[in-house]
């Protein structure tokens, strides 16, 4: 067992003091001289033609410096399907459509100006049900959009989501038991405590600085550069500076209309323009988690071995396309590789409607798919007469396995996770009584070693050391509160042989920081960690070369520990780090120590069949829940919650637990209380009173169990943990409710009303 000084330690987050004293600057706190405030006017109808927009009164209001509409801006097309424009002209397709924007000297004046803008609409019939929107003759959201082999107008997007392995039809015939069910999951909101915003500022040459809260600074830089191109500003530079970020969870993974609007307003007014979302805007004008209608069948042999998984999904794509439409590419992961299933068929269709549209949210489709899969595992286990614990153990993934999607499983602690959860819950003793108390479990797989979603999955790090041993680590990685700054500092300190307090991590400026694809796919500890470790190793090699001369020892015999370079052969031959650095620097022909390293993990893009080793290694986990269901009210109370995760190695156990607690709490909300309620395309609960996020009184005591499988590819053995905590919560809870009172709820959230209705239904039979 290796002995580490910095890795594995519960070190406080590097910026905690800044935050706890109120000194941290978020986008809300940022002010620059001459700054104007931007506000956005949204559509009044979910589907309508814009007959006219009269901005004359708004333009005349004192303090208003610019009013923009879709009729006076350059053609910027954005979004993964390039079907979105920052301000809509001609027609609106949802109630969150942006149709005008104002920049004024103060936010109240900007708000007043919005009220002075007169819009005339011709209301069109709207469609809110994706299954209806798929049918022949349905109302079209985008009339020019054609698809299918005949290139006919359709609301169904031209996306290739289909995964096949083996022979599902044959496997179905040979299955002793087959379960067929429909599951439904709906919109939930990220609820970052800091609302969205940005500040756009041009210099005299039209180079742009964007103060942003993006999770993807390098990719956002490219999005802004593309926008400048469409504005006739080719070859202009873009600098992205991140303020402190008030929560991410995937919400900052896409570039939004309001960011382009801020850029356009700043360009028009020649002044810096800041846009800040109100909480109401945050709920209705940012993109929630992707909903899905999931038709799933799974089969097993008589002795409980999974034979096939056959899934068909319909995804409400809303009015425009964001990352929600790509969640099927991630849903393929649990579909093909959660437990061992040899035969897979998966087809997903994304359909335009006049609803809001979705983007990335913690798990990125995995929680949705896993809810269906691991709920149905219990259904199947019951058909086969096998304890769901044994059923899972029988089909558990193992190290070295190659899954039907060609994922090469490296380390895998799934069995250990399942076992420890069963043990902590006293599963064999307590389960199956159905007396109002019950227990359930569910597992998960997620990428744990990066994810080659784009052509690059890399991250760059630059390290320099000053004359006194302060180590500056400049990384492309993004910290949005999860703790990547601290983990990187620990990894560098460990690799180099210094202390964490010697390390300063900078990650906020694209002019300084190297490229990174972004904080997604739980990749930061693994990829940015390996990148930092690689740069640290180069720096250490340089240091040892330099020290070799002054110590009269060859570099291979030297090492550094706790800021002291010493000879392994003769530990008395040593020199403090600072002394070595100054000796190297302050001399003729002197040198300073610095190095860089770009790490791009050896994973693969998925091929045309969506197969390939997407990640270098995979994260596994199991959650177990004991619940008590009140048969009078339908209320579900969580008595015990165990979250076991195979993390490779916990670089910082305290921050890691924070990720599991936070992820699981978000997941418990997803299972039981959270729902963004849309009626006829309108968000009805755009506030914290009506959107039911868990408070401190609601969250159960979650016991986290860390399983360390010491992955050979991860930095000091670490794998990703950011998302896994949110993935298996809903099926674990649904399974526990079934054990408690014998009702199976297949659509989230599992509210008391649904439980009561199901109990009444059951009583009738």
């Amino acid at each position: 067992m290796e002995e580490f000084i910095n890795v594995g330690k519960r070190i406080p987050k590097l910026d905690a003091e800044e935050k706890v004293t109120g000194k941290a600057i978020y986008i809300h706190d940022l002010k620059v001289p001459g700054m104007l405030y931007g506000k956005i006017l949204y559509s009044s109808h979910p589907h309508a033609k814009i007959k006219s927009i009269d901005t004359s009164k708004a333009e005349k209001l004192p303090g208003v410096k610019a009013v923009l509409t879709g009729y006076n801006i350059p053609p910027i097309k954005f979004g993964v399907y390039k079907d979105n424009i920052p301000l809509k002209a001609n027609k609106v397709c949802s109630l969150r459509d942006e149709i005008a924007a104002v920049a004024a000297t103060d936010p109240d004046i900007a708000e007043e100006a919005l009220n002075l803008i007169k819009v005339e609409y011709e209301i069109l019939p709207a469609i809110f049900d994706p299954e209806e929107a798929m049918k022949e003759g349905a109302i079209l959201i985008h009339e020019e959009h054609v698809g299918g082999k005949e290139k006919k107008p359709t609301n169904v997007l031209n996306l290739p989501w289909r995964l096949m392995a083996g022979d599902v039809e044959e496997a179905r015939k040979n299955s002793a038991h087959v379960a067929q069910d429909r599951f439904k999951v709906t919109w939930v909101a990220h609820c970052c405590m800091g609302t969205s915003g940005c500040l756009a500022q041009f210099d005299l040459k039209n180079n742009l600085t964007m103060y942003s809260i993006t999770q993807i600074p390098s990719l956002a830089q490219r999005d802004y550069t593309d926008a400048l191109g469409a504005m006739g500003l080719k070859d202009k530079k873009v600098r992205v500076i991140k303020t402190m970020i008030g929560g991410g969870f995937g919400s900052k993974l896409d570039t939004y209309a309001f960011e382009y609007i801020a850029i356009l307003l700043a360009h028009k007014t020649r002044k810096p323009v800041k846009i800040l979302f109100s909480r109401e805007e945050e709920f209705f004008a940012t993109s929630p988690r992707q909903p899905a209608i999931i038709d799933i069948a799974q089969g097993c042999t008589k002795d409980g071995r999974l034979t096939f998984r056959d899934i068909r999904m319909t995804l409400d794509n809303g009015a425009y396309t964001s990352w929600g439409a790509t969640t099927p590419s991630v849903m393929m992961m649990p579909i093909s590789s959660l437990y061992k299933v040899p035969n897979i068929r998966y087809v997903a269709k994304c359909v335009y409607t006049n609803n809001t549209y979705s983007q990335a949210m913690r798990g990125y489709g995995n929680p949705q798919a896993t809810f269906a899969i691991d709920s149905q595992i219990d259904i199947l286990a019951e058909m086969a007469g096998i304890d769901p614990l044994d059923f899972r153990l029988r089909n558990a993934n193992t190290p070295g396995e190659v899954t039907p999607q060609n994922f090469k499983i490296a380390t895998c602690g799934l069995r250990e996770c399942i076992d420890v959860v069963a043990q902590k819950l006293d599963w064999r003793q307590n389960r199956g009584k159905r007396d109002g108390r019950g227990m359930g479990m569910a597992s998960m797989i997620h990428v744990g070693g990066g994810a080659r979603v784009y052509k690059s999955d890399g991250c760059g790090t630059i390290i320099k050391i000053d004359d006194f041993g302060t180590v500056n680590v400049i990384t492309g990685a993004t910290d949005m509160g999860q703790g990547s700054d601290t983990v990187i500092a620990q990894i560098v300190a460990e690799e180099l042989g210094v202390r964490v307090e010697d390390v300063v991590v900078t990650h906020t400026d694209t002019d300084i920081c190297p490229w990174d694809v972004g904080a997604h796919a739980s990749r930061t500890t693994f990829v940015a960690g390996n990148s930092a470790k690689g740069a640290a190793k180069k720096v250490k090699d340089q240091l040892l070369e330099v020290a070799a001369k002054s110590l009269g020892e060859s570099p291979e015999n030297l090492d550094m520990r706790d800021r002291v370079i010493y000879s392994r052969k003769d530990p008395e031959k040593k020199s403090p780090l600072g002394k070595v650095l100054r000796a190297a620097h302050y001399t003729a022909g002197g040198s300073m120590v610095m190095a860089e390293y770009f790490y791009d993990p050896p994973n693969e893009n998925l091929d045309r069949e969506f197969k390939g080793n997407l990640s270098v290694t995979y994260a596994f986990g199991t959650h177990g829940v004991e619940v008590e269901v009140d048969k009078e009210t339908g209320q579900v109370k969580i008595l015990k919650y165990i979250a076991a995760h195979d993390v490779g190695r916990a670089i910082n156990p305290m921050l890691l637990e924070g990720q599991v607690y936070g992820g699981a709490t978000m997941g418990i909300g997803y299972a039981l209380t959270e729902r963004l309620i849309l009626k006829d395309g309108k968000v009805m609960n755009s506030n914290f009173l009506d959107y039911k996020m868990l408070t401190a009184k609601d969250v159960p005591n979650i016991e986290t169990i860390v399983i360390e499988t010491n992955d050979p590819f991860g930095p000091f053995g670490a794998k990703g943990i950011g998302e896994p905590g949110s993935v298996p919560t809903a099926p674990a809870i649904a399974n526990a409710i079934y054990d408690a009172v014998g009702v199976r709820i297949k659509d989230l959230p599992i509210t008391p009303e649904k439980v009561l209705a199901a109990l009444k239904e059951k009583a009738k039979k």
């Binding site: 519960r10 406080p12 987050k13 910026d15 905690a16 003091e17 800044e18 935050k19 706890v20 004293t21 109120g22 000194k23 941290a24 600057i25 978020y26 809300h28 706190d29 990220h190 609820c191 970052c192 405590m193 800091g194 609302t195 402190m244 970020i245 008030g246 929560g247 991410g248 969870f249 109100s278 909480r279 949005m480 509160g481 999860q482 703790g483 305290m654 921050l655 637990e657 924070g658 607690y661 936070g662 992820g663 699981a664 709490t665 978000m666 506030n687 914290f688 009173l689 996020m693 868990l694 408070t695 401190a696 009184k697 969250v699 005591n701 979650i702």
Partner: protein, 155 residues
């Protein structure tokens, strides 16, 4: 618009200024006095990010009229460190127990915790959870915050 004179104690210091009567306490703190430690999370008194202490009791400053602090004492997050820059025990505990991730809820959460401990120096876990029930946090799942407050209370 008729401005009104406001005299109160802010973080231990007397202060007098003229304000528009419609100003909320949050606007006064953030926009007029440039104390940006107190955050706006919802603007409707539902999330607790704007929590400050008024005569020792927590208020949601985003819906509290600034004029109502006249003659009273207000403490914001900036007022918690002592004159030598030493952190309050609650702040220290938050740092040590991993109770801070994105940090946006932190100023409000810390002040709610301080108000709780000032009134109830040895709260049970139940009382701690109730004491911060008006402060929403999306990052931490609350458990490390509860642990921190318990530790700060010396239990």
């Amino acid at each position: 618009m008729n401005k009104r004179t406001l005299s109160f104690t802010l973080n231990g210091e007397p202060i007098e200024l003229e304000i528009e009567p419609h100003l909320t306490l949050l606007q006064l703190l953030r926009d007029k006095l440039e104390l940006t430690g107190t955050k706006e999370g919802c603007g409707m008194g539902e999330c607790g990010a704007c929590t400050v202490l008024l005569d020792g009791k927590t208020v949601n400053s985003c819906i509290f009229p600034a004029i109502e602090v006249d003659g009273k004492s207000v403490i914001t997050i900036e007022g918690l460190t002592d004159a030598q820059g030493k952190l309050h025990p609650v702040q220290k505990a938050f740092i040590e127990y991993g109770a801070i991730q994105c940090g946006f809820c932190t100023p409000g959460m810390v002040l709610s915790a301080k108000a709780l401990l000032d009134e109830n120096p040895k709260p049970t876990e139940e009382e701690i959870r109730s004491g911060i029930a008006g402060n929403l946090c999306r990052c931490t799942g609350y458990l490390q915050i509860v642990q921190a407050i318990k530790a700060a209370s010396g239990q």
